[in-house]
């Protein structure tokens, strides 16, 4: 399945190949074009240039219903005047399926989503979570080739969001042959649900990969800062030497060896050094990368987050829940060699070498 777009402004040339049955998550900051991309796939927007193909069939000019897609909207978008049953059955009735067949499929979908007891109710008599299930039910009965989710959890409260997230993951397991494309700005949803994550920014794909690939080897600074919470510490650095054991000097820190393919001629260039808060640990000053004074200590229970002033920037570190760190302590931080990232002056990561 290949989808390529070249629509001006919102989507600036996206080339994407999604494997059948995959769970793909589009993630990015608001306004990055992820919803637009989804709507292009659904057929709610026309593409300006390029092609969209599903199962090898070009669907550019096909209306949404004929593309074999089903969509779950952020705002549920149920038909307010119809019962749950009619909401789910609406698409099938339009399709002209037999009454008995429709009834069987609606009841099956309701069974899966545990909304059988609500079938006679109107949407306004349901809670947010139940409404979203009805919306998912409406998508399931159509037995789509592609399932599209447009931020389906963002109207739910935190507890319900986790529960529904797990339901969606189960649904994907149950509908193994169905491709799912899911749009969110929440990286936790992206990391937990996705087989593959597509990170979008300003209408362009920044990186495509499994959640762990994106976490372990972000292709550029944008992905590095976007995936992971708190965000990766990124510090301007000087590349000391390239070659087999390349060294870099982050500003305010000590020269370190990194596992990255840095060409010899890059020596002397400026770049960016990155290290995740959770990879930093306390050290004695002889092996430290950074030393500085603790500005703020946040005790979160299972972890302690500290903000350390290093020269004129702040480095965040995630330590154990009972780390003995106090405000104003002078501390030293280090990280394993394999956890260090180096980006060139354009923000592109140097390829990582196996440790």
């Amino acid at each position: 399945m290949i989808k390529s777009f070249g629509s001006v402004e919102a989507i600036k040339g996206v080339d994407l190949d999604i494997a059948p049955g995959a769970f793909v998550v589009f993630v990015g900051p608001s306004g990055c074009g992820k919803s637009t991309l989804l709507r292009l796939i659904a057929g709610l927007e026309e593409i300006t240039d390029g092609t969209i193909a599903i199962d090898g069939e070009v669907v550019n000019s096909l209306p949404p219903a004929r593309r074999g897609v089903a969509m779950v909207f952020q705002s549920y978008s149920l038909y307010p005047h119809m019962t749950v049953y009619d909401n789910i059955a609406f698409g099938l009735k339009i399709g002209g399926d037999g009454k008995a067949d429709i009834d069987k499929r609606v009841r099956e979908a309701a069974e899966i989503l545990q909304i059988t007891e609500f079938l006679d109710r109107l949407p306004r008599q349901l809670s947010g979570g139940q409404r979203q299930r009805v919306a998912i039910g409406r998508a399931i009965v159509r037995d789509p080739r592609i399932f599209l989710f447009d931020e389906p959890l963002s109207n739910l409260d935190a507890a319900l969001r986790v529960a529904t997230r797990i339901e969606i993951a189960k649904l994907h397991e149950r509908m193994a042959g169905t491709t799912m494309i899911y749009v969110t700005h929440d990286q936790v949803e992206a990391m937990t649900l996705a087989d593959r994550i597509v990170v979008l920014n300003f209408g362009k794909v920044e990186q495509v990969g499994t959640p762990m690939e994106l976490y372990r080897a972000p292709a550029n600074l944008f992905v590095a800062r976007f995936i992971g919470s708190p965000a990766m510490n990124t510090i301007p650095c000087m590349i000391e030497s390239g070659g087999s054991a390349p060294r870099v000097v982050p500003e305010g820190g000590r020269s370190v060896v990194v596992n990255a393919e840095i060409p010899l001629k890059a020596a002397g260039a400026r770049g960016t050094f990155g290290v995740r808060p959770e990879d930093l640990s306390l050290a004695n000053s002889s092996e430290a990368i950074f030393t500085g004074k603790v500005d703020i200590v946040e005790k979160l229970g299972e972890v302690t987050q500290i903000y350390v002033g290093v020269r004129d920037q702040t480095i965040v570190a995630k330590l154990g829940g009972d780390a003995a760190v106090e405000r104003d302590d002078e501390i030293a931080l280090t990280a394993p060699r394999g956890a260090l990232h180096v980006f060139d002056d354009k923000g592109i990561a140097f390829p990582r070498t196996p440790a």
């Binding site: 969509m71 978008s77 698409g91 109107l122 306004r124 349901l126 409406r138």
Partner: protein, 276 residues
């Protein structure tokens, strides 16, 4: 305490004045319609004797029943056609992006700005040319001139407020524009449709000038014209009793319609479909 009492007294006096001003003419019409003979010319505010002779006269002589039928047919046809055209036009004007959309909306609005008398002569020519003079079609056609602009405007404004996602969900479900309008939008819009339909009905039911101009024979007349042309026994006699009886007969259906539908207009049907 006393100030509060005065305030309440003033409030209810005002309410009383408004109610009397609104209801008294109709009450007096009913009163007059129940009198007969010379009792008509006695001024009195309470019914003294009740006689239905005026009603019997109006309904049994002339073409008054036929005229009521004409009015009913024309008003209903105007309502149905206005709503059908109004809803479909509103869908295009509120949801389809095309060039000159706001210009078109303003043009539709400007149509309703012409006074009836200004279009009368031209419309007369048009109706003669179409060959529908002195038929109900002439009036149905003419009345759409003033019912369509406000129907289209109200329904367009209402449809614009319906959430786009509901429409998109229907598109994904495979609905054609006609199914979206008829199965999804109309049920959601029906409070607005009842209101505009009722207004269109009243406008068509009450219209006088076109009805007078575009009909010739008494069997084609609508009720307002028929009432105005009710003649007495002699040239100088105005049959007040009959006129009032006829007025009451044609006002009651309107009152009933408004009373029946005013409750239904309240419904907040769009609740629950989108987040909230």
């Amino acid at each position: 305490m006393i100030a509060g009492l005065i305030k309440r007294a003033a409030f209810y006096t005002l309410v009383g004045v408004i109610v009397v001003a609104a209801v008294f003419p109709f009450y007096y019409a009913i009163l007059t319609s129940l009198k007969s003979g010379t009792a008509l010319f006695d001024v009195g505010y309470w019914p003294t004797s009740v006689s239905l002779v005026n009603y019997v006269t109006v309904l049994s002589t002339g073409t008054f029943l036929r005229n009521i039928g004409n009015s009913l047919l024309i008003a209903l046809a105007v309502v149905i056609l206005s709503l059908l055209l109004g809803v479909t036009a509103a869908y295009a004007l509120s949801r389809v992006n095309f060039r000159g959309r706001s210009l078109l909306l303003l043009t539709i609005l400007s149509v309703s700005m012409f006074p009836q008398i200004a279009v009368l002569a031209g419309l007369f020519e048009l109706i003669r040319a179409l060959g529908v003079y002195n038929t109900p079609f002439a009036l149905i056609f003419a009345y759409m001139i003033f019912t369509l602009p406000f129907t289209v405007w109200v329904l367009t404004a209402f449809m614009r407020d319906l959430p786009v996602e509901i429409e998109e969900a229907a598109i994904i479900d495979g609905a054609t524009p006609w199914i979206i309008v008829s199965k999804v939008f109309v049920p959601l819009m029906w409070p607005a449709m009842v209101t505009t339909g009722l207004l269109a009905f009243i406008a068509a039911w009450n219209e006088f000038l076109f009805a007078l101009t575009f009909t010739a024979s008494s069997s084609q007349r609508t009720v307002p014209v028929a009432i105005a042309l009710l003649g007495g026994a002699g040239q100088f006699e105005i049959p007040w009793g009959n006129i009032m009886a006829a007025s009451v007969i044609v006002t009651v259906p309107l009152l009933v319609l408004v009373l029946v539908f005013q409750r239904k207009i309240v419904a907040g049907l769009t609740l629950g479909g989108v987040k909230g």
